[in-house]
Subunit: 250 residues, 2 copies
């Protein structure tokens, strides 16, 4: 059987943002890289580090996060297969946030100069990557609103919806029933809450029939429409056309 190129997941993601011709796609796949196995809960980039590498997630899940003075941590985004998780840091030259794995991951490390060389010779690729960072920004804005203006249960429901939809976009299948790769501690760091409170909120969500949880980490969304409504989730900010269809469709 025919092995898929290592960097194919990145390509699949970038295709969402624009059309690339065969030569451009090949150039992307030919980017120099090493594949690295990273264990769970490891920081691959630390806030403040000079950043010269760009990390691409091939399998597993990771997050970007920031520490605040009081010792708290705030997760600012969650990433999965195909995400170039550190393009921002690498292009800006110095990491303004930490990148950490949630689960064991396989990641590809691309030297940023090679990426730059490619974007400089190929405008379509530069556009795709730019677009990717723009969508990233849109998601950040939604998170500011989520954390700033929604109450705990709405906030968590919203996060569960976003995660489900992103999973689906990557796997190109239905993901209304998935494993959330985060502990309640980490969920708390993503929502600006306490682990204890996250625990209680999850219980009420379950009691209200909005999710089922066979094991602590498994999430089954019984009624997508109801959860999305409860979580004030309108997927436009993901700028995923597929997302839009789905949210209305089911």
């Amino acid at each position: 059987m025919n092995h898929e190129p290592v960097l194919a997941p990145m390509l699949r993601k970038l295709r969402l943002w624009g059309n690339l011709d065969a030569a451009q796609e090949q150039a992307l796949l030919d980017l120099p890289h090493n594949v690295v196995a990273v264990e769970r809960n490891k920081a691959v980039v630390r806030e403040g580090d000079p950043a010269s590498q760009c990390w691409l997630v091939l399998s597993g899940f990771c997050v970007r996060l920031k520490y605040v003075g009081s010792g708290g941590r705030q997760i600012v985004s969650i990433h999965m297969k195909g995400d170039m998780v550190d393009l921002q840091n690498a292009l800006l030259g110095r990491a303004d946030h930490t990148v950490q794995t949630l689960t064991a991951c396989t990641m590809a490390r691309l030297p940023i100069q090679a990426v730059r060389r490619l974007t400089d010779t190929c405008p379509a690729i530069k556009d795709a990557l730019w677009h990717d960072t723009l969508v990233d920004g849109s998601i950040h804005r939604e998170w500011v609103a989520n954390v700033g203006r929604r109450d705990a249960s709405t906030r968590i429901a919203h996060l569960l919806c976003e995660f489900a939809l992103k999973l689906e976009a990557v796997h190109l299948g239905e993901q209304m029933d998935y494993e959330l790769p985060m502990t309640q501690d980490q969920l708390a760091d993503a929502t600006g809450l306490t682990p204890v409170h996250v625990n209680r909120v999850l219980q009420t969500l379950e009691r209200d029939g909005l999710v089922e949880r066979a094991t602590p980490k498994s999430v089954v969304i019984g009624d997508w429409k109801r959860l999305a409504a409860f979580g004030d989730f309108r997927p436009d900010y993901l700028h995923l056309d597929m997302a839009k269809r789905r949210a209305e469709g089911r």
Copy 2:
């Protein structure tokens, strides 16, 4: 005397992000545009609208914000002279957030196709604009952390610091003493708090000698270092080199 070109403030900002040669700078200044006077508290772009124009702030202040289901509003960023306040919406094609003035503003409206045409013919300009959107993303991440993980007074102090530093970057002067162009309502929308609570926090900040407020809106930062420490403000996320010097320097 020699009139400055209308779009000069944009140029001044973009120069922070990279070197442009004279021809490139001229091309930017020559972008087609109309100048519009916008009164206070007017939305120039609404969430959900198709976005085909890009707005540039020439004078005054404006914000980007999102509405949530419960009726709340969350301001996601604050903008001033020289900021291309709607590049993100315009490039993504549909507005994922609202753009609204805080004060009366003069703004320039650029057709996004013209901007695209320019970036397509001139990679250096595309890079500068890309960089601008990347810094924007970095600021968003800091806001997620600010709103998610800092308590009310730290959060407000942080915002005051960010504002002071951005003012300074634009005006190229000292801005430890400025007019905050926001009501306490708006400050609340930017920090995810209630107006009432913002009011009380401002009073404690004043009582503790961290700021002085001759009139409600005027802010005088007596001791920059102390306010920055209190507000957990480390300016690296602004990716403004000047900012760094200043924060340590005084």
